[in-house]
């Protein structure tokens, strides 16, 4: 009987070794371990054995059973793994094929810049104001100390609609409107981004429509050094901490003293190049201390309140910051252009 069991073990293990399919393995399990399997039929002959032999044979039969079972399980695991490997291999893809595209949109470059500036000034306690694009002559010029026949009106050739209405030539009227709205009673701290218009022929550096961002701070004890401090913060956040700023005296009818702000040219590291016209400096904005007549006309007592204002061309900032060389690109919406800046 021992020999029989040993023969079964050998035979079964040998067969298992050669099995390649799960089905055959299942059949084999039934053939050897099932109720009508080989081992069972051997054990049926146990009754003929001596009493003391029975446990020995029983133990041996169990060992053979275990050996076959474990071998089957091993084989089963292997077959399963092989099957999985085969399936995975069949499922393999060419990972170099393109992904399914996601339709991605994005903001206009101006939105990038305006939001960045808005957020910067909101952080300093400014509010964002808007105003009409079709302005009255009063708010566009007179309230800003530009009376009829003022020589500085030469600088602003405007789109008039009637003698009294025009497309605003700058965002500055929003200053006057905001101060009027605050009735000379409380501090004004605002910036206003917006579209403006001038009678220019469209070319690479001129556009009849462009954008400005204007800032105004009116309060008690506002000093010119505060303007310097704020502009310095702005320039470094906007253009990089390594940039230097320089203020030069200038002229605007609505500020006195007036300034123009230059930032150091990063293209040439101030050695002089075509971008900075060999000067090492690039003009970015104008500003100054609000002219007392402007304060007065808006209802603020210039003996009590002082303030500063500044304004810059959004288009120009965008051109400087992103190296755009043709202002018309901002209004053509050329896909090859706009999609470049979505990650800006």
């Amino acid at each position: 009987m021992k020999e029989k069991l040993e023969a079964i073990r050998k035979e079964a293990l040998a067969k298992i070794k050669d099995i390649e399919e799960m089905k055959s393995l299942q059949d084999l399990r039934v053939a050897y371990l099932g109720k009508k399997g080989s081992i069972t039929s051997v054990l049926r002959g146990m009754g003929k054995l001596a009493k003391e032999e029975r446990p020995i044979i029983g133990e041996m039969a169990n060992k053979v059973r275990e050996a076959i079972t474990s071998s089957i399980e091993e084989k089963q695991a292997k077959l399963e793994k092989d099957a999985m490997d085969k399936q995975l291999q069949e499922e393999a893809i060419d990972v170099t094929l393109p992904g399914r595209p996601v339709q991605v949109g994005g903001p206009h470059l101006f939105t990038h810049i305006v939001q960045e500036i808005e957020d910067l000034f909101i952080g300093m306690g400014f509010e964002v104001r808007e105003g009409p694009q079709v302005e009255t002559d009063y708010y566009n010029f007179e309230a800003l100390n530009l009376p009829q026949n003022h020589p500085a009106r030469d600088m602003q050739d405007s789109f008039y609609i009637t003698n009294e209405l025009l497309l605003r030539t700058h965002t500055s009227p929003v200053q006057a409107r905001t101060m009027k709205a605050y009735k000379g009673e409380k501090p004004v701290k605002m910036i206003c981004p917006g579209v403006v218009y001038r009678r220019d022929h469209d070319d690479a550096t001129h556009s009849h429509q462009f954008n400005q961002i204007e800032g105004l701070y009116v309060d008690k004890d506002v000093r010119m050094s505060d303007l310097k401090g704020i502009l310095n913060l702005f320039a470094k956040k906007m253009f990089g901490e390594e940039r230097e700023i320089r203020l030069r005296p200038s002229f605007f009818p609505f500020t006195e003293p007036s300034v123009e702000m230059d930032i150091s040219c990063k293209v040439c590291s101030q050695k002089g190049c075509s971008v900075c016209k060999q000067t090492g400096w690039i003009e970015v904005l104008g500003g100054g201390m609000v002219h007392p007549r402007v304060l007065e006309m808006a209802g603020y007592d210039p003996n009590v309140y002082t303030g500063f204002a500044f304004g810059m061309g959004t288009d120009r900032i965008a051109m400087l910051k992103y190296g755009v060389n043709d202002i018309r690109q901002f209004y053509m919406n050329d896909k090859r252009f706009v999609t470049q800046y979505h990650q800006a």
Binding site: P98, G105, I122, N149, L165, S225, G229, F330, N333, T339
Partner: protein, 809 residues
């Protein structure tokens, strides 16, 4: 303003600093130097030569062989082709070894067999711009006057060692439209002494007022008129130095009389005019307003029709000059002129500006009058010119000036206080520093401790109030020297308004939905101003608004819709082979209800978009999805869902839109925009492929949006789902059926979705099948089957009855 540094150096010593350094100092003090121009390069091999002999070339008709003394042991033999070369001339000689502009190297050569050891040069060959070259030397070599020394280098003689700074003057700095003004500025910046010209005339023993009477009728426009009489002038070229300073300043030399008036104009900033005294035909000058329809022929030989707004100088009867703008041809100084009436006057800036605007005659003179000349320099400038006429035209200057004089020459007084200056600037200047700045500026002042009473000289007409002086002090102190500070009171909170926040959110949504933000022009062409106007705007009968003077027809009318210019951008892209486009824009339209506009139009924000081509472009798996009505509608549904605003879409026929693929969008039963396909004919006209647009009323959306962000608990009880397909007539709208289901199912039906639409095989002609997916839910309890069954059955019955439908089995 072009500033010759050689000229400037006559008044202020700037010799110890480079032009670049000087330009930087001037720029930082408030006058931007735009450009630095070196007139010529040092060229030691170009000298004055004396033409000893000049013979015809034996083998060339147009060439001469000259022996030229250049101050060396031996004369140089030079072959010269200039028509005006002659024996006895002093000329410019480029010796062998010289390099002329354009990299022309001068060598010993043989010209038709004759040796030539250099070149006799024209001014052009030295690189001088043709427009500044006196006409007599335009076509040949330049000839020096006799008093130059043979062998001398030519740079100083021709002012070629000069450097010119171009100033970009702001409108307030009219003082720097003169060399003296610039000298004051530079002397202040550099803290250098100032050397002003000394004016002295040897008048003859005859009175000017015997020669002419001066009357001013338009006293408001001409508070000062001075007439000087200079007789026996000799018209000839002006001295070289003067010609060269004029050239450096961009003015072409003409003759001594004209050059002198121009020279004084540049030196003093005071325009002068010389009349030919003998051509006046009277002994009178009358300054008055022109009569309407009066005419004058100006120096440029154009007859000009005048009006009562123009100020004219007359001989008592007829206009002889357009005051401050241009002289008349009839009294022009010419080669035969011997006697001169020289005008030095103060004309009202506004009047000159008006005439300039009307005639377009902007000149060096009118520019200065327009900005206002210095009242304390008018007479002196006339005297300065007389001095020069005496010296360089051998003129006899009559005694005195015949004048009308009501000119206000008073100086303004401005009070400044050290503490106030520091308070405004944030600086810590001492009174001594302020006093020193005033001294540098050459402003007179009285000081009582920290209080200064400043007399502002009339040359600085831009300074009249404290803040003007504040800038003056600050700029000489140096803006760079002011500290960086932050405001003292800086405590407010800054936030975006709800409206601004919502606009940012909508942009974010539209961008995440795959649209690119566009910006287009507000000014559009006439035909576009009336297209794609949303129904609710059209209902207000808006009048298109035109600007008075458009730059082009393409940009003349304020837009009433963003769509036309967006479509233009689509066409622009298509022309560049970009076919898959999805743009949106948020911007204003301009609505006026007045045919003749008198008040500001309403500016209302629109949210518009245009899409074309492939929405999903995924060719290799055949998964392309072209843009169609439902792509666009899906984006808008998403937007309104995001904003939690219920809207309805109703089929509509709008102009410029495809009649079968267009919907008007309603919110609270009011139209707030539309979407759909552009009409195929408009697509053809604008060169577009199949293109879809939308346009939404941003104002209505911003107004309707209420900012409620309350939390809805997630349902605890399970939902029950039911699907049903109805067979409907083709013309029944799926949305109407959906609405009815929602109405009937309320409140238990939480959601109705259309998941299948079919017509064709297995369905009768003219029928379609639409399948709906219903989700039932009760937030408070678990629904029972029979509850749902009852509702579902009622829905089926009602839909069948209402739409003549039946359930597809």
């Amino acid at each position: 303003m072009l500033v010759s540094l050689n000229w400037l150096n006559k008044y202020v010593d700037i010799s110890n600093m480079s032009p670049e350094e000087l330009a930087e100092r001037i720029t930082k003090s408030g006058i931007e130097v735009d450009r630095i121009e070196y007139i010529g390069e040092a060229n030691p091999d170009v000298v004055v030569g004396y033409v000893e002999t000049c013979e015809k070339h034996p083998d060339a008709d147009k060439l001469n062989v000259c022996q030229v003394d250049v101050g060396q042991d031996e004369a140089l033999q030079i072959v010269c082709g200039a028509p005006n070369v002659a024996k006895g001339q002093k000329v410019i000689v480029a010796k062998p070894g010289a390099t002329l502009p354009g990299d022309m190297k001068i060598k010993k050569v043989k010209l038709r067999g004759v040796e030539s050891n250099g070149m006799i040069c024209s001014l052009q060959e030295l690189g001088i711009d043709e427009k500044y070259i006196p006409s007599e030397y335009a076509d040949g070599i330049y000839v020096f006057p006799d008093d130059v020394t043979v062998g001398e280098r030519i740079e100083p003689l021709l002012n070629m060692d000069d450097v010119v700074l171009e100033f970009d003057l702001t409108p307030n700095r009219a003082d720097s439209l003169s060399m003296l003004g610039v000298a004051y500025e530079v002397a202040a910046i550099l803290d250098q002494p100032l050397h002003l010209p000394e004016v002295s005339i040897n008048e003859i023993d005859e009175e000017a007022d015997q020669q002419v009477k001066v009357n001013v009728e338009a006293t408001d426009l001409c508070p000062y008129y001075g007439a000087f009489i200079v007789k026996n002038v000799e018209i000839k070229p002006s001295p070289l130095w003067m010609q060269h300073y004029l050239i450096a300043a961009g003015i072409r030399p003409i003759n001594n009389v004209v050059d002198i008036t121009n020279y004084v104009l540049l030196e003093y900033g005071q325009p002068l005019h010389a009349f030919d005294y003998d051509r006046l035909n009277s002994k009178e000058i009358l300054v008055r307003r022109a009569n309407d329809a009066e005419k004058i022929v100006t120096l440029d030989d154009v007859e000009r029709q005048l009006t009562n707004d123009d100020l004219v100088i007359t001989n008592g009867e007829k206009p002889i000059a357009l005051a401050g703008v241009m002289g008349g041809a009839n009294t022009e100084v010419h080669d035969g002129t011997t006697n001169i009436l020289l005008e030095a006057a103060f004309f009202d800036p506004g009047s000159v500006r008006k005439t300039v605007k009307k005639t377009g005659l902007r000149s060096e003179a009118s520019t200065r009058f327009e900005k206002g000349v210095d009242p304390n320099r008018v007479r002196e400038a006339g005297q300065r010119a007389c001095q020069l006429l005496e010296k360089y035209a051998n003129g006899k200057v009559f005694r005195g000036v015949v004048e009308y004089d009501r000119l206000d020459r008073s100086e303004k007084t401005v009070m400044i206080h050290t503490d106030e200056i520091n308070k405004r600037l944030g600086s810590e200047m001492t009174s001594e520093e302020i006093a020193d700045i005033l001294r540098k500026l050459r402003f007179e002042y009285k000081q009582e401790e920290k209080q200064f009473t400043v007399q502002v000289p009339t040359r600085r007409g831009d300074i009249s109030i404290f803040e003007d002086m504040l800038e003056e002090v600050a700029r000489i102190y140096g803006y760079d020297n002011l500290p960086f500070t932050l405001p003292k009171h800086f405590s407010q909170v800054g936030t975006l308004t709800k409206r601004q926040q919502l606009m940012r959110k909508m942009k974010t949504y539209l961008q995440s939905a795959g649209l690119m933000e566009a910006r287009t022009y507000s000014l559009t062409k006439e035909v576009y101003a009336s297209r794609f106007i949303s129904p609710e705007i059209q209902a207000r009968n808006p009048y298109p608004i035109s600007v008075q003077k458009p730059m082009t027809e393409d940009h003349q009318y304020l837009r009433l819709s963003l769509v036309p210019e967006l479509l233009k951008s689509m066409a622009y892209n298509k022309a560049r082979n970009e076919y898959n486009l999805a743009f949106y824009e948020m911007g204003n339209i301009f609505i006026s209800d007045e045919e003749k506009i008198t008040k500001q139009p309403n500016e209302e924000m629109r949210i518009s978009g245009a899409l074309t081509g492939e929405w999903v472009d995924h060719k290799w798996q055949g998964a392309n999805q072209s843009v169609d009505f439902f792509v666009v509608k899906g984006i808008l549904e998403g937007l309104f869902h995001y904003l939690q605003l219920p809207v309805e879409y109703k089929a509509s026929e709008l102009p410029q839109m495809h009649p079968g693929r267009c919907a008007t969008i309603y919110m609270n039963n009011e139209p707030i925009g539309f979407l759909g396909q552009v009409h195929p004919l408009v697509q053809i006209e604008m060169d577009l492929k199949e293109t879809y647009v939308f346009d939404l009323n941003g104002e209505a959306i911003l107004d309707a949006h209420t900012h409620h962000a309350t939390y809805d608990p997630i349902p605890k009880y399970p939902s029950i789902e039911r699907d049903i397909a109805f067979i409907l007539d083709q013309d029944v709208l799926a949305g109407d059926v959906k609405s009815l289901i929602e109405k009937l199912g309320s409140p238990l039906v939480k959601e109705v979705q259309i998941f299948d639409v079919y017509s064709g095989e297995h369905l009768p002609e003219g029928k379609k099948s639409v399948a709906y997916h219903l989700v039932y839910q009760d937030p408070n309890k678990t629904l029972k089957d029979d509850e749902v069954e009852e509702s579902f059955k009622q829905i089926i019955d009602q839909v069948n009855k209402t739409f003549n439908a039946y359930v597809r089995s």
